[in-house]
Symmetry: C2
Subunit: 411 residues, 2 copies
DNA sequence: AGCCATTTGAGAAAGAGGAACACAAACCTC
DNA sequence: GAGGTTTGTGTTCCTCTTTCTCAAATGGCT
């Protein structure tokens, strides 16, 4: 994923890079591991592991501590931990109705996290960039060392170009072709790489790395709020598409002559499974916000037939759209997130019924549907993972210079 | 892709494997290259290339010949060619109404190709396997050396498990849960690995490697016939899903209360864009075969308004389904194949209009829609590529033993 | 025709990195 | 406390590419 390191020719140095990368990945993913566990996981010899760990410790990406005794015979193996002080990222999120910032250390520990409400409606890109920068500063106060900052990752509710943070559309913010990347870089004024991606894409990444989808290499995440976003992981890698615009599942046509969608089309999936469709079916004003949805949820919990029917119908449409996605991708897991997490119990049966009817048997036997485990912070945590990616892909590049930061990502 | 070579630890031997692999891939893809071109493409040094080529020549995967003089100064560089006699695959195809077999040499040269009609209707798996085996024998008569056979690739019109050729569903053949892999292995009686995949998946692979989509890393191929299949390439790799059931775009719901589909669902894409929908719209019996479709095509070419309207409506639905796929995957290219190639001129305008309306602007600006360049043999050529894959991924494994064939693929 | 610049192949030596092996250290069990 | 087991340490070996030097083969120019 990412990283333009696509020189085809390999040499011994490549081997070291790759081995360092797998070790740092293992540490980042699993937290603490003994040296001998690393031997087992990587297939490398004890000598090789020793040398590699030594380099990581010297470069402050890992620390070694005394072994814990687990009662098995044999010499105990020292524990290796990712060093959260040696490498930190800044994660930012522009959500539907909030902004968030967090600092996350190598290994995934969240050092600091702030979330502030965002007044509903249009805000200019410049304003948002400025406010994000403020949050970023407040959250970076306890940064271990100034040179420990690996990079910045930004989750955006909208269609955003991965390479430079150009936002093509963000209906919730009223943006269209806004150069968020430029403004944010300016507002931050830091000389570190900034990476951008869609919030649902990043939620999928987070759930894949640290949530319910851990160890699952083919998954689809559907993130419901006002609109519906999606994130795809295929073969263990986030599916981005050519420019990073993939996963826009909210706009697959499921009801071609249906209601008009914010995107200009008709009968997009989100016109049937977004919150306004639910509210409409529940007989409430479709523009109601989270509170209105919560009210429908409460009514459903209390057994109100109108609310239950509204969820059932939403579930039916969820199943219809998901069936298409599953037939296309043959995933192992579907993860429902955002507002869908709370709705799940009430949409479940109609959803599964549609899957039974519409997904090809071979695929149907495999997929399971679950809800997120990381909750509302999934996109933010995904942004952290995004920012870590260059380090994970090539720790060697990070180990050597150590004085200045690596040059801004070229592509 | 494929290959269980997922030991994480790298060593010097890994480097050699990887370098041999990139060289063989380049040769297989580009045909003839000079040594110095290989230096340029791989980033390796002249010495390294020399050693690697030497090994390939010794292992009969490549031949070296005199340089061609192109008028530039400097010592001419010898030309390296993939050796089609050193490595050959057998490609088989079970299509809607035909069976085909071909032998293809390293580099992509088709040595021999046979296609026979398949009487429409149900045939047992055993019969088909036997007939395929016969074709296979007839086409393997001119095999250079018995030990040059790398493997067998099979394209199947249906949902087939990649690992073992278990066919879950093949409506055109009337199959359901048939162990094609077992029967074919028995009928062939050869001790070589056999790989299976869906025909549209393989057509996509072929167009990616040797057709219109060469050099394009994110594409969607839609293969229209009685039903509609799809093949996806993401980030340069075929997207298979967990079990190889991906790409079943024919069964995305586009008209949830529409006509019943062979799969048991309602309003699947193929009920609107398959040949029977076209025939129905053209006022003809929907069960008509290729001849009936050709008649509608002829009528359209002659300007018949009913035929033109039938195509226009089909194009509209093509656009609706494609819009969803494009929004999900953000591909660079959509390739239309099978019966859709001939229909394209008549469906084009309504198709593009729907894309304009339904695909998010950011993605819309990127995608182009084209037709196949390899024609009806695309799936067969893809099957050859599939069979070559283990060799391309690790030529070293193929170079060493050379006496016996590599053991049957384990997973 | 002859000389020069350029590109590339050939061969030997060097450098980088992991594997293999032998040995010592630290833990368990009895 | 002795023996078995597992793992860290250190040295040597092996593989593979790079680096460096020299020779070969071509085009361009006078």
């Amino acid at each position: 994923m990412l990283i333009g390191r696509d020189e085809l020719g390999h040499r011994s140095e490549t081997v070291r890079r790759a081995n360092l990368s797998t070790i740092v990945r293992e540490l980042h993913g699993s937290g603490t591991l003994s040296r001998s566990e690393l031997v087992g996981r990587t297939g490398l010899t004890r000598s090789a592991i020793r040398g590699l760990i030594g380099e990581l410790v010297a470069g402050r990406l890992a620390t070694e501590g005394p072994a814990t005794l687990d009662g098995t015979p044999g010499r105990p193996s020292p524990l290796v931990r990712p060093d959260p002080n040696g490498a930190v990222v800044l994660a930012l999120e522009i959500a539907v109705d909030s902004l968030a910032a967090a600092t996350v250390g190598l290994g995934g520990e969240v050092v600091d996290l702030v979330r502030v409400d965002l007044p509903r409606g249009r805000s200019s890109v410049v304003d948002i960039a400025a406010e994000l920068a403020e949050l970023a500063v407040s959250v970076s106060e306890h940064l271990p060392a100034p040179d420990a900052l690996v990079g910045v990752g930004v989750a955006v509710v909208g269609v955003v170009r991965r390479s430079d943070g150009m936002v093509s559309t963000a209906p919730n913010l009223g943006w269209r072709d806004e150069p968020l990347g430029v403004h944010l870089a300016e507002a931050l004024g830091w000389d570190v790489p900034i990476a951008f991606a869609n919030d649902a894409d990043l939620a999928a990444l987070a759930e894949h790395r640290r949530g319910v989808a851990r160890g699952i290499d083919d998954l689809v995440l559907v993130w419901g709020s006002v609109g519906v976003g999606g994130g795809l992981v295929v073969d263990g890698e986030p599916l981005t598409g050519v420019a990073g615009y993939s996963g826009e599942v909210g706009h697959i046509p499921v009801n071609p002559d249906g209601r008009p969608c914010r995107c200009g089309s008709l009968g997009c999936w989100e016109t049937e499974v977004g919150t306004s469709a639910l509210l409409r079916r529940a007989g409430r004003p479709p523009e109601g916000g989270n509170d209105a949805v919560d009210a429908v949820l409460a009514a459903a919990e209390a057994g109100d037939p109108v609310a239950l029917a509204a969820f059932a119908e939403t579930g039916r449409w969820l199943g219809i759209g998901l069936a298409g996605i599953i037939n296309i991708l043959n995933p192992e897991l579907v993860v429902l997130g955002g507002r869908l997490t709370a709705s799940y119990p009430f949409v479940r049966s109609t959803l599964e019924a549609e899957l039974d009817r519409r997904v090809l048997r071979a695929s149907r036997r495999i997929v399971r549907v679950v809800t997120t485990s990381l909750g509302a912070d999934a996109p933010l945590l995904g942004a952290a993972e995004l920012a870590f990616e260059p380090l994970l892909a090539d720790p060697a590049a990070w180990l050597r210079p150590r004085v200045a930061l690596p040059a801004l990502a070229s592509a």
